[in-house]
Amino acid sequence: MVKYVVRRTAMVLPLLLLVSAASFLLLYLVPGDPATLLAPPDATTEFVEELRLHLGLDDPLHEQYLRYLWGLIRGDLGRSYLTNRSVVEELAPRFLATIELALASLLLSIPIGLVIGIGAAMKRGSLLDAFLMLSSVVGLSMPAFWLGLVLMLVFSLSLGWLPSSGRGDWRNLVLPAMTLSTWSIAIIGRMTRASMLEVLRRDYIRTARAKGLVEWLVLYRHALRNALLPILTVIGLRFGYMLSGAVITETVFAWPGMGRFIVQAIQSRDYPNIRGALMLLAASFLVVNLLVDVLCAAADPRIRSQQ
């Protein structure tokens, strides 16, 4: 078990290195000069040159990269070109905002998804099952930006019940969390249904039923418990992706999270911010994955005993 965890953890470092190198190369290839954007409208071409020099953009690529890596090791991600604040300071509040949204969305989608999945599995083949599954496919097919705008149109612009954008109290959270949850609910629902069906076929369920156990007890104690593993995996994955910032949802609702942050950073060619954000995203995704894997390993004796 310990070995397994160590092995999985060891995988994270080379991956992060790869991501750092890739993001560096990517920015090198990106057309559009940060200095040009940063310079004020009336700036002379000479000024732009000076700025490039100051930002170290003319240094050889490997030099820039090594400088960056060295900073990374010391926990220094540099300073934003645009705001001149340290990237860590820039990222922290955005990351918190994203976590807030992701958790709210999970809190909404886990119970609903579970109920849908279990309901569909129990009433397998019924109209209810068909309806729930169709709804979940519809959920998967809904463009997030469209859903977000329609929700905004209805609940903010027309009814005036909820604020339409920005971050503040819980009311600001409702619409973006709903938008973000649609996908998760559908995914969790489908996965729950599939793995419940898988489990319900097993012998021990039949045994339990034969023993005359009440149906909900069979469900709760035997079926759900054993079906949880894949569901947990899906939830973990979803959470991992949501931490990366729901680019579209955050853009639509002006939510000051990672997704919107990274889009803005790309638009303004704020290299230190882009790199920092990508590293943080990759790291958080990998860590969540690692946790899920370890949880699964801990729960599944077959994996636990491996090696």
Partner: protein, 565 residues
């Protein structure tokens, strides 16, 4: 070994705890806001309750005092002004910020001199100034008894320090360098505690406008930079009527009144700026009373909002001469007849009427109205026949294929206008391919990277200093060919002569004459396809007065006040 079930439950428990922590941690709207918004909430109440029976809608109602006969009831005086901005402020380091950051900065600090509402330069942190006979030496006599928010005194040394930070040989390049770039830093001399003398590199008629450009010369406390170093952008310290109270990035920026302000104290105790990028949302917030002021109201909404008695719409003609800058270095626009043909080929009235609902004026000069020296010099009526005839005269009987580039989302209705103009030019035989750049960095880069790749660029260049020199010099002076913002690649000796005459002269009469000649010449020579200057709209809740919108769309709020109930 824990079972998966208990694991999941504990996980969910942790999740819910974090969520609730976030919920309570996030500060809710301060009570003062709720109070001031109470009357504004009233109109939305009945509609909302009707629909859902009131269940979900009760929260604002609990805060609203009984809304009977509002006009006679004088509620508590509004102490806070809430403003919806269009962008997030990048930094409040006055020498590095731009756009709306400068606007916020102007509430936090002052310039040496600053134009009043009529555009006349007035004393600010300099009480008076003298210009030497050489037209290059300026002596500034500073206002006495002024201190920065942190207690640092404002004096000659503080000014010298600010100039050094912007222009000094060892200072990193900053945006302020561009605005103050006319100053020869080596000439700066501190004469006594409140007198500073400096020289410009050359006689420069627009100098005082240049340093009073809203971003040009906001003064910073030297001690604050010592204290905060690179983080001073988060801890701005100026001499202004307001000082920074709270700044949560992406969420809100709150200023509070500076009790020791040297000038007239502002009426509002606090100003809160909210970054609301979506225009539709800003409108909504203005309507519900969530904000008192909203910038950049979309033109499509103006008519509806104007009918709302609770909202005043301030329309200011923005000093952007929206045009297609025609690439004069490439065929077909190297021929003046083709450039004029293009000018005749576009039905500007249709664009103004349909896209701008009449809230724009067709240009009649390369200078937009509102810039000193503007004079209407001509017109290019929509005349398809004449356009085709001019094309034929220039040897383009069969028309020509052209590429027109356009930034997206940077200028009011930019893609809409480009699409419309493209269709009209095509109609006249100039078969237009419009290239829209959603990415501004690539748009800017491609202007200078390969100037042969495009025949026209849609743009509306605003003179940042409100001086005509800032309108012509960057965009049409020959030395700026291949650079920003001479996207026409325009180099013409006649135009150059007038541009430089206006640039160097210190005598306004002389400058005005030069600019009149220049406008006439440029109109005929048509380096641009002149379109329109559009109004920009700012929405203000009724009952608030004194919001001043400058023609460069910057909004000044320190004279704003609530009218007596």
């Amino acid at each position: 070994m824990t079972t998966p079930r208990s694991l999941v439950f504990s996980l969910m428990l942790v999740l819910s705890m974090i969520v609730s922590a976030c919920g309570s941690g996030a500060t809710s709207v301060p009570p003062t806001v709720a109070a001031t918004q109470a009357p504004a909430d009233v109109p939305t109440q009945p509609a909302a309750t009707e629909v859902e029976g009131g269940a979900a809608v009760t929260e604002p109602a609990t805060q609203a005092p009984a809304p009977t006969e509002a006009p006679t009831v004088s509620g508590p005086a509004q102490t806070e002004l809430i403003v919806a901005l269009g962008t997030e402020i990048s930094t409040l380091d006055f020498q590095r910020t731009s756009g709306e950051g400068l606007m916020v900065g102007r509430h936090l600090s002052n310039h040496l001199v600053f134009p009043d509402e009529n555009g006349e330069i007035q004393p600010d942190l300099a009480e008076r100034w003298e210009i030497g006979d050489d037209g290059m030496t300026y002596t500034f006599f500073l206002r006495q008894g002024v201190t920065f928010h942190d207690g640092t005194p404002w004096n000659a040394e503080a000014l010298r320090w600010n100039l050094e930070r912007a222009l000094g040989p060892d200072s990193p390049p900053s945006l302020a360098k561009t605005w103050m770039g006319a100053i020869d830093y080596s000439s700066v001399r501190v004469i006594d505690e409140y007198t500073v003398e400096l020289k410009t590199f050359e006689p420069f008629g627009g100098f005082l406008y240049s340093i009073s450009n809203i971003g040009g010369g906001l003064m910073m406390s030297p001690a604050s930079v010592d204290q905060w170093g690179d983080d001073v952008g988060t801890h701005p310290v100026g001499t202004g009527p307001y000082r920074l109270l709270e700044w949560i990035r992406g969420e809100r920026l709150v200023l509070e009144r500076n009790p020791d302000y040297w000038g007239e104290p502002p009426a509002f105790e606090k100003i809160t700026f909210l970054p609301i990028p979506e225009a539709t949302t800003r409108v909504l917030m203005l309507e519900t009373g969530e904000v008192d002021v909203a910038v950049r109201i979309p033109t499509v909404e103006v008519e509806r909002l104007s009918a709302n008695p609770e909202i005043n719409i301030i329309g200011v003609t923005v000093i952007r001469p929206y045009s297609i800058m025609l690439n004069t270095s490439q065929p077909p626009f190297d021929d003046v007849r083709v450039r004029q043909a293009a000018n005749y080929a576009v039905d500007k009235q249709a664009i103004v009427d349909s896209l701008f609902l009449g809230q724009a004026e067709i240009l009649n000069s390369p200078l937009p109205p509102g810039v000193p020296g503007y004079s209407p010099v001509g017109e290019y009526p929509y005349d398809l026949k004449l356009a085709k005839q001019l094309l034929a005269e220039a040897g383009y009987e069969n028309g020509a294929d052209i590429v027109i580039d356009c930034p997206q989302g940077r200028l009011v209705l930019d893609t809409e206008v480009c699409s419309a103009v493209g269709a009209m030019l095509t109609n006249a035989g100039l078969r237009t391919q419009t290239r829209i750049f959603g990415d501004y960095a690539q748009f800017l880069d491609s202007r200078t990277a390969d100037t042969a790749a495009y025949n026209g660029t849609f743009f509306g260049w605003a003179t940042g200093s409100l001086d005509p020199d800032g309108a012509f010099f960057p965009t049409l002076y020959s030395q700026n060919v291949g650079k920003r913002w001479n996207f026409s690649q325009y180099a013409n000796p006649t135009a150059d002569e007038q541009i430089m005459r206006g640039h160097s002269s210190l005598d306004w009469e002389d400058r005005a004459e030069a600019y009149l000649e220049l406008q006439k010449f440029l109109w005929e020579d048509a380096p641009w396809l002149y379109l329109y200057s559009a109004k920009g709209f700012t929405g203000v809740r009724a009952g608030i007065e004194g919001v001043f919108v400058r023609p460069d769309e910057q909004i000044l709020l320190y004279s704003a006040r609530q009218t007596a109930p």
